[in-house]
């Protein structure tokens, strides 16, 4: 990289940082127009048995309440799935 390119890159970086800083007021104004996101609430009782993610039913268990989700293993019966390789264009089951 020659001197000219280095200097160009440096000033590009500086310009990018300045542009980011200068965009902050616009961001603040745009955010002021938005509704706050909905607050978190307890899981619905009906859904709690199968899919609620409170610590007791967290896929990573209560021992690690903030652990990452475990990877879903592929079902062994995928060959008979209507959307699987055997029927790549099959209709969805009712």
């Amino acid at each position: 990289m020659n001197m000219k390119q280095t200097k160009g890159k440096t000033s590009n970086s500086r310009r990018a940082c300045q542009a980011a800083a200068q965009a902050l007021p616009a961001l603040a104004m745009a955010l002021a127009m938005l509704q706050p996101a909905q607050a978190a609430e307890p899981p619905k009782p009906a859904a709690s048995s199968a899919s609620a993610a409170k610590p007791a039913t967290n896929p990573c268990g209560p021992e690690n309440p903030c652990g990452p989700a475990k990877k879903k293993r592929k079902s062994k019966s995928s060959g008979s799935n209507p959307c699987g390789p055997a029927n790549p264009c099959g209709p969805a089951k009712k």
Binding site: K9, L24, A30, L31, P36, P42, A53, K54, P68
Partner: protein
């Protein structure tokens, strides 16, 4: 990577950290709304997205959630950021990022190993991964992933300090106990935290570039 390339990467992160939420806000969405992945309800403890966002190429993973009690004033929820470990099936928790209900970043924090079930990695080894943290997603998670990537790169120095404080907090609590015992101590949950000011960070960057 040269110092100049580092600067360019940092400058790109600075732009992403502002322009991505700005672009979304101009279209009526905040990063907090984006984090919910279109879900109709935001439920305690549930992961958003349900199976976490994973970048198989770079070994990074994240999800958003909230507890019954917010982690700090004004918190709407937080992102947990992970990096896949060297051994199959292992992962490390880099840090968590709290945001408010408009998706504005509030603070970074670290947790004890039992909280996420991570394989513990000392701060110097984790810090090494921060400056090249890469998270790529397709579809509607793409802007969120790129924004988180920008936040990590932009705050890499802060995060390095945060992780050192995490290890120091554990060392203070040790009192002769083994590391394994400390990592499973349920009384030790939140180990370090650091408030964020995007404006201040960008100001610092502008002065040093």
């Amino acid at each position: 990577m040269t110092a100049k390339q580092d600067q360019a990467r940092l400058a790109e992160a600075a732009l992403d950290a502002v322009q991505i939420p700005l672009y979304q806000a101009q279209r009526g969405r905040s990063m907090a709304q984006l984090a919910l992945c279109g879900a109709a309800r935001f439920e305690h403890w549930r992961h958003y997205p349900a199976a976490d966002a994973r970048d198989a190429v770079h070994g990074s993973q994240f999800y958003f959630h909230a507890h019954e009690q917010a982690r700090g004033i004004g918190e709407h929820g937080h992102f947990h950021l992970f990096q896949r470990g060297a051994q199959p099936g292992t992962f490390h928790h880099l840090a968590a990022l709290s945001v408010d209900a408009l998706g504005r970043p509030l603070r970074w924090f670290t947790t004890n190993a039992w909280v996420t079930g991570e394989q513990w990695l000392a701060a110097p080894l984790l810090c090494h991964q921060l400056s090249h943290y890469t998270m790529v997603q397709r579809g509607r998670l793409a802007p969120l992933a790129r924004w988180l990537q920008a936040m990590v790169r932009l705050h890499a120095q802060d995060l390095a300090l945060l992780l050192q404080q995490r290890d120091a907090a554990l060392a203070r609590a040790a009192r002769g106990r083994s590391l394994d015992a400390l990592l499973q101590d349920r009384r030790l949950e939140l180990l370090s935290e650091r408030e964020i000011s995007l404006a201040r960070r960008l100001q610092d960057l502008t002065l040093t570039h």
